[in-house]
């Protein structure tokens, strides 16, 4: 009790000069992650087996304060410590170090319908849930009709909640929770309740709370909600406070961060998938070009990525580049430019009728376009050892702005096996000022006409 008093101070708003609702002062929270299950009594008493655990820093020296009447948003990836922070404010757990100061009655909506008992009716559960949230019975009596009406469960209110759908359950939980009427409200990802109509009702309630000058702290992955509702936003990552400021700025930063993360994840996933495909292709290759040292090229690396390349090595792609109309090498191009993708191939062995191709993929690994000399009906003829060839694909860039990868390849004329395939050898940056989305530019003309009705 003394130890809790030191770390968690709850002060009624006696001193009106204090306009801070929540103050978090260099708060850290360490969790122990047990490697085994909960230690048994026997183990602890005999100490034969010392249980091993790791310490995990869920929050690392976080400080900020929320003034009365402010709406704060907390964003961050999973495991960044958002929920831990809310639990600390709600007094459910204590900080390992630092101080949490709360001025005024606080209610935490960390879970809707916490403590609902399935065998009891909706009405009975309203009373229990309200009591758990700190409401007095006579207050509940007065608000009972409001609560039931808000939940839209009039017909089912005397049915045991085990017969409720999950949506009904959440609606009832939300209806009770918003009637508690605290000064400080903590909301953890519970606004996405029920259908559209009910959700807009929920938002209206939150707006009303804001108008009443209540302090609200919201954790959400829904960035639209955060930017709509909040006056300030905190960006948490790995338990650290990365940034704090105006909602639009922080949300933009966070969005950039998750996009980057998503990109990495997708690339990683694509790599793993391609590795699998390459393995099958290489094995196929091996069967056809029996006896040749076909894995030679796959040991070559470009940017340390050996899996990016495979083939027999009878021909090698030595360089690649992007040229503009006048033949100058460029690093990016504009939408609509006439450009050439050019690569050089050096033959190490005699190859008859090779096929030259390219493939263009977006950063997710979707194939945007691919073609080769055979599909374009070009006969390539016979190449001797030492021959060097320049292959050019000229086209008009009609790609939506962004980054695209180019993979050039030289294949045998069986159309199945390869001399050399270099994956994602080159990146094209396309700048596109028109706003559009998707993969292809269909370049539509748009018209809007008003219909004329006859009476």
């Amino acid at each position: 009790m003394n130890s809790t008093g030191r770390k968690y101070r709850e002060e009624r708003i006696k001193n009106s000069g204090n306009d801070i609702a929540v103050a978090i002062k260099s708060v850290s929270k360490k969790y122990r992650i047990h490697h085994e299950k909960i230690p048994s009594l026997k183990q602890t008493i005999i100490k034969l087996k010392r249980t091993t655990y790791e310490e995990f820093l869920a929050l690392d020296n976080v400080s900020f304060s929320v003034k009365h009447g402010e709406t704060y948003g907390i964003v961050g990836p999973n495991g960044s410590g958002k929920s831990t922070l809310l639990k600390l404010m709600a007094k459910i757990i204590l900080p390992t170090s630092g101080e949490v100061i709360i001025n005024g009655p606080l209610s935490a909506l960390l879970e809707l319908g916490a403590g609902f008992h399935p065998d009891l009716t909706g009405r009975e559960n309203i009373y229990i849930n309200a009591a758990i949230l700190g409401m007095k019975k006579k207050d509940v009596d007065g608000k009972l009709n409001d609560i039931i009406e808000f939940s839209e469960l009039e017909r089912f209110i005397d049915t045991p909640v085990k017969n409720y759908s999950s949506g009904m359950y959440m609606r009832l939980g939300f209806s009770v929770a918003i009637n508690v009427n605290p000064d400080i409200l903590l909301v953890d990802e519970v606004l996405a309740v029920g259908d559209q109509a009910f959700q807009s009702k929920c938002y209206k309630v939150i707006y009303d709370f804001m108008k009443m000058g209540k302090t609200i702290i919201i954790v959400s992955h829904d960035l639209e909600t955060i930017s709509d509702l909040c006056s300030r936003v905190i960006f948490l990552k790995d338990g650290k406070l990365i940034d704090m400021g105006k909602p639009l700025d922080i949300v933009a930063k966070y969005r950039a961060y998750i996009e980057e993360l998503e990109k990495k994840r997708i690339i990683e996933q694509q790599r793993a998938e391609r590795k699998k495909i390459f393995k099958t292709v290489i094995e196929g290759n091996r069967k056809v070009v029996d006896g040749e040292e076909i894995s030679r090229l796959s040991n070559l690396s470009i940017d340390g990525e050996t899996i990016n390349r495979f083939g027999s090595g009878d021909a090698e792609i030595s360089s690649i580049g992007l040229l503009d109309k006048s033949g100058r090498e460029i690093s990016y191009c504009n939408y609509g430019d006439e450009v050439k993708v050019v690569y050089k191939v050096l033959f190490k062995e005699k190859v008859k009728g090779p096929i030259f191709g390219i493939r263009i993929t977006d950063y997710r690994g979707n194939i945007i376009y691919g073609t080769n000399s055979r599909l374009k009906n070009i006969r390539t003829g016979l190449f001797k050892k030492g021959d060097e060839v320049t292959v050019a694909f000229s086209f008009k860039i009609t790609l939506i702005g962004g980054e695209y990868s180019v993979s050039p390849a030289v294949g045998y004329n069986d159309n199945k096996t390869y001399c050399d395939w270099v994956n994602d050898m080159f990146t094209i940056n396309v700048i596109h000022r028109n706003v559009a989305e998707g993969l292809a530019d269909l370049n539509p003309t748009v018209s809007v006409e008003k219909s004329v009705f006859k009476k």
Partner: protein, 264 residues
């Protein structure tokens, strides 16, 4: 401690609400409802009566009454402790999501069992009245004994409910402990039957002293053979041990309470 009681008082509605829930849930969906709670001690009574009066012929007059007037108080203890042990874990969704004084959970279980106990006692009064027991002679002592026993039950329940969060196998141990406690309390036998050299051990157990009071209040008013209230010293010892268990339970609980949410 006092601030703790103050907080608890401000949460009294939650405590009663949860107690009510505990009782409602227990009897919801069973046609006989509350009578189930009577059926259990009645059946136990019948079995023991058969064994001790007919098979073993212990020679105790109206054994059923002899037994039940102590069995009911003991059941109050053992039911509270048995249900209380896993109560924090069973309510993990609450403990993890909402703040309120955690002792409300085990306390609501104790209160629900106390309510049951009192109902059972009133049923017992009717039976005693019909059978011509002058149970009203010492009835004024009953609230005092129940009040003191209540602290023992609360202390034990708080202690085991808190420890069980950290040592989950405690609930298996508790079943055994409660069995030993049952036989270590003069419930199915009179205290006078215990050999002199074991009396001391048996009397350390505060439940023994409470049992003697209950039996004097209810049973010995009709069959005074073996009657006799515990001495002042014995009573004070029982009171002391009860308070010790209560405070140990309370402080252990308070000490561990803030780690519950992390452990479950």
């Amino acid at each position: 401690m006092f601030s703790g009681i103050k907080t608890l008082f401000s949460y009294r509605e939650l405590l009663f609400s949860l107690t009510k829930k505990e009782l409602k849930v227990k009897y919801r969906g069973s046609a006989l409802g509350f009578f189930w709670s009577l059926l259990n001690p009645i059946l136990t009574m019948l079995v023991y009566s058969f064994v001790f009066s007919i098979v073993l012929r212990a020679g105790i007059k109206e054994f059923a009454i002899f037994l039940i007037c102590v069995l009911l108080p003991f059941n109050f203890l053992s039911n509270s402790v048995n249900y209380g042990t896993s109560s924090i874990i069973a309510n993990s969704n609450l403990v993890n999501k909402i703040y309120f004084p955690r002792e409300i959970i085990p306390l609501s279980i104790v209160l629900a069992n106390l309510f049951n106990f009192l109902l059972e006692l009133s049923a017992l009064f009717i039976v005693l009245g019909i059978m011509g027991y002058r149970f009203y002679l010492y009835l004024y002592l009953l609230p005092v004994v129940i009040f003191i026993q209540f602290f023992l039950v609360v202390g034990m329940t708080l202690l085991v409910s808190a420890l069980n969060v950290f040592f989950r196998d405690l609930q298996h141990l508790i079943t055994i402990v409660m069995m030993v406690w049952f036989f270590g309390t003069p419930i199915i036998y009179p205290l006078s039957m215990v050999p002199e050299r074991f009396q001391f051990i048996i009397k350390i157990n505060p439940m023994t002293i409470f049992a003697t009071y209950y039996r004097n209040i209810f049973y010995y008013v009709k069959y005074p053979e073996g009657a006799g209230f515990p001495s002042a010293l014995e009573t004070l010892t029982a009171l002391g041990i009860t308070l010790l268990i209560f405070f140990v339970g309370y402080f252990v609980f308070k000490r561990l309470e803030f780690r519950f949410a992390e452990e479950i």
